[in-house]
Amino acid sequence: MLDLHLTAFPILLPLIAAPIALILGRSILSWGFATFVSGWAFFVACQLLIATLSDGVLSYAVGGWEPPWGIELRIDAANAFVLLVVSAISTLVLLYSKLSIEKEIHESKHSLYYTAHLLCLAGLSGILVTGDAFNLFVFLEISSLATYTLVSLAPDRRCLTAAFRYLVMGTIGATFILIGVGMLYMKTGTLNMLDLAERIHFYESSRTINTGLAFIMVGVSIKLALFPLHMWLPPAYTHAPSAVSAFLASTATKVAVYVMIRFIFTIFGADHVFNEMGMGTILMVLAIVAIFKGSYMATVQSNIKSVLAHSSVAQIGYMILGISLMNVTGLMAGLIHIFNHALMKGALFMAVGAVFYRMGSVDIKAFRGLGKQMPLTMAAFTIAGLSIIGVPLTVGFISKWYLVMAALEQNHWVIAALVLAGSLLAVVYIGRILEAAYFQEADQSNKDIKEAPLLMLIPMWILVLANIYFGIDTSLTTEAAGSASELLFQNTSDIAVLIESLHGIGVTSTQEVSP
């Protein structure tokens, strides 16, 4: 039997370790310590996922204050699954980052980098495990502040303006979430997510609740970079240090997608959000525009990190599209794509970081002829790139498969066709890079470029092999994502049944809190 205190470990480990990494001071010591702690957090996340898949939901009352009064940590299949992704990527990126940041960040700032990384991990894990809406905002800001710092550590001065723009947008998004949560509290008098979910249904036609919903959805959409609100993402990921891009692209936006899923399905109820408020159609349209706008922008960039950043916008579109399809398969496709996209984007950014390590540039010109000079790095890039396109035997295919299935279940033939058309654009932007790497001659000055060092290749190839492994054996991802999405939909229908029975016996409303 699992010790219940373990539920708090994903937050506590990195949070306590962060100042220690700073005190250690020496680059190598901080690196070893941060990697060890992150690996431990990954181990805990594995235990938690196994426990939730067998015993169901784990609930932990922080400080012995019982929910709904105290803060509850609540782990079910959905957040245990995302927690596993985040801690795994964090560990691999830390392993990789040693050489990468030695090249890109000044020696004196190394321990600060590891501190900020651990704080970011603590914030992201906090968002995932908490069962309290206000606590979620606090962790969101912990992770975001660490993120702004991480982005601004790059040597190129453009990272500063990117980080500043990210800070302004991110703060507006977080404040919108804060306003929304305040409105929910105003009407229901509770902040615990389950308690909120039960009480909100008495006020479904309330303007306060619906305004709160609108604020939260816009705030979360800024955080996850949904199409019209994505302008902060491409510059931030392009100019951040390579290791930071790899970490953020595969975790930060995914966690924001999880927040959106949590608010839609657990708190407001899918039926209310999608049908009564009509947000399903809005999200679907924005997601499709995001897929095409992001993919198109990716085809015209010459900076490869910028290509990958724009492609991230498109991939987020696929996740939101899955959610907006309003069925179990669609939500499952969204959750699986969170996992799969983390694997492929992590590997791609690591490969680009390795190219930067050797070449000192990430322009498409630097990739000419690299297929011969850095065969392992470019092979990793190729496999992860095929995965982005959605070629069978890679994880990308699994995501697209479930997404198309979900669209067909709802008889949205056009959506299914558009998903496939989006993949064609991915062929263009990935193919362009592969063409430069394998079919063009290297410049004379780059003839003596060697393969990337082993410490960078190992984490990169772990992700690439995971891309292939989970593309063939899908039992883990489909089981975890399947049970998570069934649980999320069940929540919604359970509460609907509860409401009907309450209406039957004449209970319609509970006491309001404020004047």
Partner: protein, 118 residues
């Protein structure tokens, strides 16, 4: 008329929120953007604080002869949010300092031109 007077605290919140938001969007100077962001956040603090007021309620301190208290929880929440706001401002201002060092200016249109030249 009563609609305006009864909810005057919320009108102040809306006014501050919109002016802060407008400054963030329109200001060209990065320090002004941070100021706008602060006004925007402060309006939300006021929203929370005013929702904690219970009409006829006293300050939430246990005392004899008082039965009705205001709700202290929003105030506690906002203390946390103020800390978050201070931290955000600190990070934002330190970024502005570094931008000034790297570009020699904190006006958005000026440093955008400088990057295009590279």
């Amino acid at each position: 008329m009563n609609f305006i007077l009864d909810y005057y605290n919320y009108w102040i919140v809306v006014f501050l929120m919109m002016s802060g938001f407008y400054i963030v969007i329109s200001a060209n100077n990065l320090v002004k953007k941070i100021v706008g962001l602060n006004i925007f956040q402060t309006s939300v603090f006021m929203l929370y604080i005013s929702m904690g007021k219970v009409s006829g309620g006293s300050a939430p301190i246990v005392a004899e002869g008082i039965t009705q208290y205001s709700n202290p929880l929003p105030h506690v929440l906002i203390l946390t949010a103020i800390v978050v706001g201070v931290a955000t401002t600190a990070v934002g201002l330190s970024l502005v300092v570094r931008i000034k060092r790297a570009y020699g200016t904190v006006e958005e249109n000026e440093f955008e031109n400088k990057d295009d030249a590279i």
